[in-house]
C-alpha cells in the first residue's frame, strides 16, 4: 500500500513521525504499549526508592533521593503525555496498570533491602535504563524521541550519583563494603534481565527495528551495559555474582554466563518477590485518593457553573 511505503520511506530517511501523521495501526499499538509501560515503570519505580527517603543516612543523601524520586514522577507524567498523543487517555493507562493488564519493568518487583540498594539502583538500574533510552532517543516517533532525550539527561545525573555512592561505600567501613557487595549481588542479574529476553526470544524486535522504534536489539544493548559496568564495578573493588564473566579481547566484549530466564519469566508473569505488593500499593493509593479526586471534580464543576451564571 502506498501510505505504508511512504511511511517506511520517511523512516528510512530518518524523518520523525509526528502525532498528526498517518501511521500503521501496529506501529501505534507497539508505541502505546512501550510508552505506557515505560511510564508505569517510572511510577512504580518510585516505590522501592521512595521508601528509603525517610531512612537516608545524611541530609545530603536525603535531598538527592527526594529529588531523584520526584524526577521519576516527572518522567512518568511526561511519558503519559507522550502516549496521549497516540490517542490513549491517562485513565485508560492507569486502569490497565491497576488491573494488572499492563506491564512495568520487572526490575521493580525486587525489594530494596538496605540503603546500598539505593546507590545500586542508580548505578545499575538507571545505567541499564540509560542504554535503552539512549537508543530510544533515536526513535522514529517524535514525542517519544524527545521525551527520551530529556529523560536521559536527568537519568545520567542519577546514574552518576548512584555510582559515586556505591564506590564510596566500597571504600568505606567493613559494614558499608559488605552492604555494597550484597546489593551488587542482588541487583546484577535483574539489571541484565531488565533489558529483555534474548533476541531469539524477542519476536517484536525485527518489526520495531524496521520501523525505527528500536535501533538495537536487546542483546546488543545488554552487551553495551555490561561492557561499561562490569569493569567499573570490579575496579571499585567489588565482585560480580557471575563466575563465568570474562573479558574477551578478540571482540572487546565482557562475556557473561547464562541468564536464569525462568526467574525472568516468573517475575514478568507476576511471581516476583514484590509483584503483589507493588500493585497493591498502587491500588491502595488510587483507592484512598478517590475521595480527593471526587472533591476536586465537584469543586471544579461548581466553580465553572458559578462562572457561567455570573
Amino acid at each position: 500500500e502506498a501510505r505504508l511505503a511512504e511511511f517506511e520511506a520517511r523512516i528510512a530517511r530518518g524523518e520523525k513521525i509526528e502525532p498528526g501523521d498517518w501511521m500503521p495501526e501496529e506501529y501505534r499499538r507497539q508505541l502505546v504499549r512501550m510508552i505506557s509501560q515505560h511510564a508505569h515503570s517510572e511510577v512504580v519505580g518510585m516505590l522501592p526508592e521512595g521508601a528509603w527517603i525517610t531512612r537516608a543516612p545524611s541530609l545530603k543523601r536525603k535531598m538527592i533521593l527526594i529529588a531523584k524520586v520526584q524526577d521519576e514522577a516527572g518522567h512518568g507524567q511526561y511519558l503519559y503525555h507522550a502516549a496521549e498523543t497516540l490517542g490513549v487517555t491517562r485513565e485508560e493507562m492507569l486502569e490497565a496498570l491497576l488491573s494488572g493488564k499492563a506491564k512495568y519493568s520487572s526490575i521493580f518487583n525486587y525489594p530494596t533491602l538496605t540503603w546500598a540498594d539505593i546507590g545500586t539502583i542508580g548505578w545499575l538500574v538507571d545505567g541499564a535504563a540509560i542504554k535503552n533510552q539512549t537508543m530510544l532517543a533515536q526513535c522514529s516517533y517524535g514525542p517519544y524521541s524527545r521525551a527520551m532525550v530529556r529523560i536521559c539527561a536527568e537519568e545520567t545525573f542519577h546514574h552518576k550519583q548512584g555510582k559515586e555512592m556505591v564506590i564510596t561505600y566500597a571504600q568505606g567501613t567493613p559494614k558499608q563494603r559488605a552492604m555494597a557487595q550484597d546489593a551488587i549481588n542482588r541487583w546484577w542479574w535483574p539489571a541484565l534481565m531488565m533489558l529483555g529476553p534474548h533476541d531469539s526470544d524477542s519476536p517484536n524486535t525485527p518489526t520495531l527495528v524496521k520501523w525505527g522504534i528500536k535501533t538495537k536489539t536487546n542483546d546488543q544493548v545488554r552487551q553495551e551495559f555490561i561492557n561499561e559496568h562490569a569493569p567499573e564495578i570490579l575496579e571499585a573493588g567489588l565482585t560480580l555474582p557471575d563466575p563465568d564473566l570474562r573479558y574477551d579481547s578478540a571482540t572487546g566484549n565482557w562475556v557473561h554466563g547464562p541468564i536464569d530466564w525462568d526467574e525472568f519469566w516468573a517475575v514478568v508473569n507476576g511471581n516476583g518477590p514484590m509483584n503483589k505488593e507493588r500493585l497493591e500499593a498502587r491500588r491502595k493509593a488510587h483507592a484512598e485518593g478517590a475521595w480527593v479526586r471526587e472533591a476536586l471534580a465537584v469543586y471544579a464543576a461548581r466553580k465553572q457553573q458559578t462562572a457561567v451564571a455570573v
Binding site: M46, I53, I66, A73, Q176, A285, H286, E288
Partner: protein, 252 residues
C-alpha cells in the same frame, strides 16, 4: 553578639531546623502514594524545600557553634529534638497532611517576612531566599484547603476533622522559646505574638471561607518543645536507622 544571645540564637535555629526536618519527613512518607501523580510531585517538592530549609538553619547554627548538621539530625535522641508536636503527628489522610502544611506555611511565610529585617544578616538573607519558595507552598496548600473544604461532604468532613485535631497543636508554633525574648530585644527575630495575630486573622478567614468551622474548642496546646508526642521516638527510630546502623561509618 554576647554569649546568652548566641546561646538563645542556637536554640532558636535548632527549633527552626527540627520543625522543617520532621515536617519534611512526614510529607515524604507520601512519596509514591499520593492521590494524583501531579500532587505526588508537588508534595515531594514541598518536602524537598522544607528539607532544604532545615539544612540552612542547621548550617547557620553550625556557623555559630561548629556543630555537624548530620550529627544533629541523625544522632540526637528524641528528648533532645526541639520541633513542635504538630509536625510529628502521623501523616493521616490527604486532608490532614495538606492542612498541616497549610497551617505551617502560613506561619512560615509571615515569620520569614518579618525576619527579613533581622539585625542578624545571615538570618535575614536566608529568610529572603526561602520566602519565594514558601509563598509558592502557601499558594498551593491554600488552594487545596478551599477545594477540599468546598468539595464534597466527605472532603469537608475530613478537612474539619483535621482542623479539629490540629488547631490546638498549631498554636505551639507561636510559643516562644525560654530565651527567645533576648533575641526579640536584639531585633534578631520578630515577636511571635505579632506573627500569631497576623496568622490567626489570615488562617481563620481562609478556613471559614473554605467552609470550615471556627473557632474550636482548643483542646491540648503544647507549651514546651522539650516534650514530644508518642510518635517522635518511632519516627526517629526509622529516620536514624541507617545512619546509626554503622556507627563507625565516616562518610555516607
Amino acid at each position: 553578639m554576647n554569649e546568652p544571645v548566641k546561646q538563645a540564637l542556637i536554640a532558636k535555629l535548632t527549633a527552626l531546623a527540627d520543625d522543617e526536618l520532621i515536617l519534611a519527613h512526614r510529607d515524604s512518607e507520601w512519596v509514591g502514594h499520593g492521590p494524583i501523580l501531579e500532587e505526588d510531585i508537588a508534595l515531594a517538592n514541598i518536602a524537598q524545600d522544607e528539607l532544604g530549609h532545615a539544612t540552612v538553619w542547621y548550617g547557620l547554627r553550625s556557623a555559630l557553634d561548629g556543630s555537624d548538621p548530620d550529627q544533629l539530625a541523625f544522632f540526637r535522641d528524641a528528648t533532645a529534638f526541639r520541633n513542635s508536636e504538630l509536625v510529628e503527628l502521623p501523616r493521616g489522610d490527604w486532608a490532614f497532611t495538606l492542612l498541616r502544611q497549610y497551617l505551617f506555611d502560613a506561619y512560615e511565610v509571615l515569620w520569614l517576612h518579618a525576619v527579613q529585617s533581622s539585625t542578624y544578616p545571615p538570618l535575614a538573607e536566608a529568610a529572603a531566599k526561602m520566602l519565594r519558595e514558601e509563598r509558592f507552598h502557601l499558594q498551593h496548600t491554600q488552594a487545596w484547603i478551599e477545594r477540599l473544604g468546598q468539595g464534597t461532604a466527605e472532603s469537608n468532613r475530613r478537612m474539619q476533622a483535621a482542623l479539629d485535631g490540629q488547631w490546638g497543636y498549631a498554636q505551639q508554633l507561636f510559643v516562644p522559646l525560654p530565651d527567645e525574648p533576648l533575641l526579640v530585644a536584639e531585633g534578631i527575630v520578630p515577636d511571635l505574638a505579632e506573627v500569631k495575630e497576623a496568622w490567626l486573622s489570615r488562617t481563620t478567614q481562609h478556613l471559614q471561607n473554605s467552609g470550615l468551622r471556627l473557632p474550636l474548642q482548643m483542646g491540648y496546646q503544647p507549651t514546651t518543645r522539650e516534650i514530644h508526642t508518642e510518635h517522635l521516638w518511632s519516627l526517629l527510630a526509622e529516620m536514624q536507622s541507617t545512619a546509626r546502623w554503622d556507627p563507625e561509618a565516616k562518610v555516607w
